[in-house]
């Protein structure tokens, strides 16, 4: 129980992870598990396999187990009021990681640690606007972008699309000529890109919602006898190791980072919350962007 937890000085945290759907996510999980061990926090971990109902169940079970703090990375933004209400009644503080929830009652959670997907899209768009001239590879005065969306309807896919579109609308030269889902996978990215290469003439830029789809697109572009990064510019989001390697090799032109290494920050916040200290409502993780040069520099000590 929470008193016991306070007595012996150790904190029990229940963490409900989304799943293990990508390399990014497993890096996130590893970061949390390792940081918990370092911080001496007893971590109860569960994997919802991308299902909201599973996550709700886990959180309920954490409430029943009377953990000291609950953290989770919501599968969806909506639909958390009921279970968070229960946590509140049981006086267990809740920390959100990575993705926000959509609720009017902000007292339901203590804080949010994570990235802002819309902003990631905006950063990608901004780079394109800034480099519009160079990105018009075929020099016809129009920058034709094809977009590889994430899983249809998922929050990162929606937000990265939105942020990107918002920014590029400021430049009338830049147009999205085709957009299709590649389901966040390399195979999906490759197959969709193959189709685009045949059906959509004059592609200047590929904007992929994650590195994996971008890497798939690179394969397709190579197979079509073109040079990725040169004949077609590529922008992606995430900055996982494979993506950074391709960026350093000049096959990708720009990556917006979305860091999975939230573990340390999370444990920090958890300790403070349990100790009754004040924490800010919003902790946006420090995220940067990478150009090929920066990538080459950062690559050697990249963990994931």
């Amino acid at each position: 129980s929470s008193e016991e937890g306070a007595d012996d000085g150790s904190i029990t945290m229940g963490f409900a992870q989304v799943g293990a759907e990508s390399g990014w996510r497993t890096a996130n999980t590893t970061s949390i598990q390792e940081s918990a061990k370092e911080a001496g926090i007893d971590l109860k971990f569960s994997d919802a396999q991308q299902k909201q109902e599973n996550q709700i169940k886990s959180i309920r079970s954490y409430i029943q187990q009377k953990v000291d703090v609950i953290a989770f990375s919501p599968v969806v933004e909506t639909g958390w009021d009921a279970v968070l209400q229960e946590a509140k009644r049981a006086k267990i503080p809740v920390v959100l990681t990575d993705r926000a929830v959509d609720t009017e009652d902000t007292s339901l959670y203590v804080t949010f640690i994570g990235s802002d997907f819309v902003e990631e899209g905006e950063k990608a768009g901004q780079w394109l606007v800034d480099n519009a001239e160079a990105s018009d590879v075929d020099k016809d005065g129009a920058v034709n972008v094809v977009e590889l969306q994430g899983t249809t309807g998922s929050a990162p896919a929606l937000d990265r699309k939105k942020g990107f579109e918002d920014v590029i609308s400021s430049d009338s030269k830049i147009k999205i000529t085709a957009s299709q889902t590649g389901d966040f996978t390399r195979d999906g990215g490759k197959q969709v890109m193959e189709a685009f290469l045949q059906s959509t003439p004059k592609i200047d830029v590929v904007y992929a919602h994650n590195d994996d789809m971008g890497l798939g697109a690179i394969e397709a572009i190579k197979a079509a006898g073109k040079k990725p990064g040169t004949d077609i510019k590529i922008i992606t989001v995430d900055a996982v190791k494979d993506g950074m390697t391709a960026l350093a090799a000049g096959e990708i032109n720009f990556i917006v980072e979305c860091s999975p290494l939230l573990g340390e920050q999370l444990m920090d916040v958890a300790e403070k919350v349990v100790a009754g200290e004040e924490v800010p409502d919003l902790i946006v993780t420090e995220e940067t962007t990478f150009t090929p040069e920066q990538a080459a520099e950062a690559l050697p000590d990249r963990k994931y």
Partner: protein, 355 residues
């Protein structure tokens, strides 16, 4: 009098073509291709680039290879009244084993390493197939549940192998499985078509096909007739796993990487769909590998059509549902009977006019 005779002969030929089992799937395939051609006039163009064929049609056959492979194995399993839901997970395991071996292996770029990795992955698949076959044939668990076990656990095993990471390999020999070319043709397509041809020959030139069908049609009668049903069931599950493994390797090679979570996800549904579109009944018994080939190509073409004609991502599923329903309706004898009854009055009235 030659004129009417000829028209009648043509009519009869047409009627026979229409009543052929594969007429409607082929017609649907043709229609899809035609739609693509209208959307992209260059759709059928195939050119030689760097000494190999390049074009949408080539892509379709190459990208359709994994589904075709899985569907070939699935056809035989279904013919014995079974079903194998675990093929997606098995594909993921195969990819994981091969990629992890290559990365951890002594010389990760060498062709030898790739060969060892591939053999190892396929050996693991045989073991998984034996496991499925054991549950179905020996323990006597319903196939759908027996293979559900591996479907759920298998992806976990694949993640265990990769440690949850996307494992990327740099091995040209391995990559050649998917993107390599032999005699200007993509290796992946050659593998799938090769497996198709060999299976077709083995199944129809030996008695295996007949025995598989007999087990599927009436298990008890085949037991009494002395058919070694257990061995046959076991064999088809091993074969299905092996096919799934090859599919997994091709998918992994296609992107030089394995993502245990997404590799081959839902491929079992596509494969089953291909089998059924090809005219093999899920109730077991008579099967048609050629039908499966057509079905798999139909699905590959469908996948290609969506981005090609610019269907928005949100409408993918609607489009897929539509195509599936139409193809299946066209194939159903009952639906065709309804259609024909509707069509009948037209020729009659014309004949009346002539007389």
């Amino acid at each position: 009098m030659p004129e009417p005779t000829r028209t009648r002969a043509v009519k009869e030929l047409g009627a026979r073509a229409v009543s052929h089992r594969l007429f409607w799937p082929l017609a649907a395939l043709g229609t899809l291709l035609a739609i693509n051609l209208i959307a992209t006039p260059t759709f059928f163009n195939v050119r030689i680039q760097d000494g190999h064929l390049y074009g949408s049609l080539v892509d379709i056959v190459r990208n359709g290879a994994p589904v075709l492979l899985v569907a070939i194995g699935m056809t035989l399993v279904i013919a014995t009244r079974g079903i194998d839901l675990s093929v997606g997970a098995v594909a993921a395991i195969a990819g994981a084993v091969a990629c992890v071996y290559i990365v951890k292996g002594p010389a990760d770029g060498a062709a030898g390493t790739a060969i060892v990795a591939i053999s190892m992955a396929l050996a693991v698949c045989v073991a998984l197939g034996l496991w499925n076959g054991f549950l179905v044939a020996v323990v006597g668990i319903q196939p759908i549940i027996a293979t559900l076990v591996l479907m759920v656990a298998g992806r976990g095993i694949a993640m265990l192998v990769t440690g949850g990471q996307i494992t990327t390999v740099n091995n040209d020999a391995f990559a050649a499985l998917a993107s390599g070319h032999l005699l200007t043709l993509p290796v992946a397509a050659l593998i799938a078509l090769g497996v198709f041809a060999v299976t077709q020959i083995v199944v129809r030139r030996t008695a295996l096909g007949l025995l598989i069908e007999s087990v599927g049609i009436n298990p008890e009668a085949s037991r009494l007739a002395g058919v070694r049903s257990r061995t046959i069931i076991w064999t088809v599950y091993v074969f299905a796993a092996l096919c799934a493994g090859m599919a997994g390797l091709i998918i992994a090679a296609n992107t030089h990487s394995v993502n245990a979570n997404s590799l081959g996800l839902w491929i079992e549904l596509d494969a089953i769909l291909a089998v059924v579109i090809g005219g093999t009944s899920l109730a077991g018994g008579r099967f048609s590998l050629t039908g499966t080939l057509v079905g798999a190509m139909l699905i590959a073409t469908l996948t290609r059509t969506i981005p090609n004609i610019g269907i928005p991502a949100e409408a993918n599923y609607l489009f897929k549902a539509l195509v599936v329903v139409i193809v299946c309706l066209l194939q159903s004898p009952k639906a065709r009977a309804v259609l024909q009854r509707r069509r009948e009055p037209i020729p009659t009235s014309r004949e009346e006019a002539v007389v």
